[in-house]
Symmetry: C2
Amino acid sequence: MIELVPITGLPEVVPGDSLGTLIARALSRLSFTLRSADVLAVAQKIVSKAENRLVRLDTMIPCESAIETARELGNRDPRLIELVLRESRRIVRMGHGVLIVETHHGLICANAGVDLSNVDGGNTASLLPVNPDASAARIASEVRAVTGVDVPVLIADTFGRPWREGLVDVAIGVHGMSPLRDHRRQTDAYGYQLRATVMAEADQLAAAAGLVFRKNGRIPACLIRGFEFQPGSGNASDLLRNPEHDLFR
Amino acid sequence: MIELVPITGLPEVVPGDSLGTLIARALSRLSFTLRSADVLAVAQKIVSKAENRLVRLDTMIPCESAIETARELGNRDPRLIELVLRESRRIVRMGHGVLIVETHHGLICANAGVDLSNVDGGNTASLLPVNPDASAARIASEVRAVTGVDVPVLIADTFGRPWREGLVDVAIGVHGMSPLRDHRRQTDAYGYQLRATVMAEADQLAAAAGLVFRKNGRIPACLIRGFEFQPGSGNASDLLRNPEHDLFR
């Protein structure tokens, strides 16, 4: 059985907080003893807050391009669009009020992950962490310092996807486990070699954690117990399809 | 806490099997008492087997188009490609040895979900269920007949996705719960109204169940306990983006 355990009791996260330390203390208050077979999933929003990836909108002076883009998208806030464009390498699709971009990390998502909710009522935008893999590694290190236990850490964010309604959580940062599990060398019960069966386990774990997270940020961390992850040194960029192999660029 | 419970001990599924009955009996052998707050996730592969969505490849006579397409894809089996084309409304993308189509259900996936593994060593292909929502409803009905309990049922299949490596499970059939959860009318902790926050909960549940399923089909059903799903009469087509709103058509 796999258990998805909400890590409740975290204080409101502010810039400078040591998330791993806060999480380890919360686990202790829950009388929960961490095991090295556990996986820790943390919502991107509190990572961005702890890392002060916050920008006051009234400091943003939108360029002409941002003003124009904001208008085309249906009178979106040009200061927010300016911020989105700064966080992006390129625009992937634009229309129906939606701006899908490729971030500097290579992630493809709406609005470059820039978000106004859950900060201070619309005046401050939160940006994605600069390096979510490093964020995951740091949290793992902080957790180890308090508990003595090494666990994989995932940073999860909610993304939309083509052709399917609704958002799901995916792993934008990964430390301590292989994000992908390759079943191709295995055979099925009949001895038939499985073909293209590489599972994005880090994304499935993030989606599972998403069931525990509340969208208003009330439970921004989750422990997953009982899943036999594949140890490894891979990171979230392994989950990004090589543009040369991607049919949707 | 959310628990993902593997339903072990299912017999090998054959055409004509009443999956809900088999699952209910397996739960009973596990001394597991079903509750109406539980969600049942079933892997597409055993639904296809029970519904005899099986085709022997040696009965397939590929048309010219299938032969040509198979060659272009790198000498794939034209009989298999013939089957894929028959299960499809249209080809979405083709290249790098991959054939992404829109199935008759409106699902967009590789090979129309046609699969050779896990049946009989490569001679028989399994197709997606004709109506996965109806399959889910039937399984729910059979489970209720044995246990007296109504639970939502999801049929899960593994899909690839643009820009991200690896496969994740999504819900291709849904009964008894709302596949989407709309958070838009809610406000966050600061009173700021959340914008485009519709979560594809059925897909997240499917991904979570995927952590339990084994790719070789050994554990093809999973119970999810402790998740407060939104009751409803929606189905898997609610998860398909309206083509008019889809930027990736």
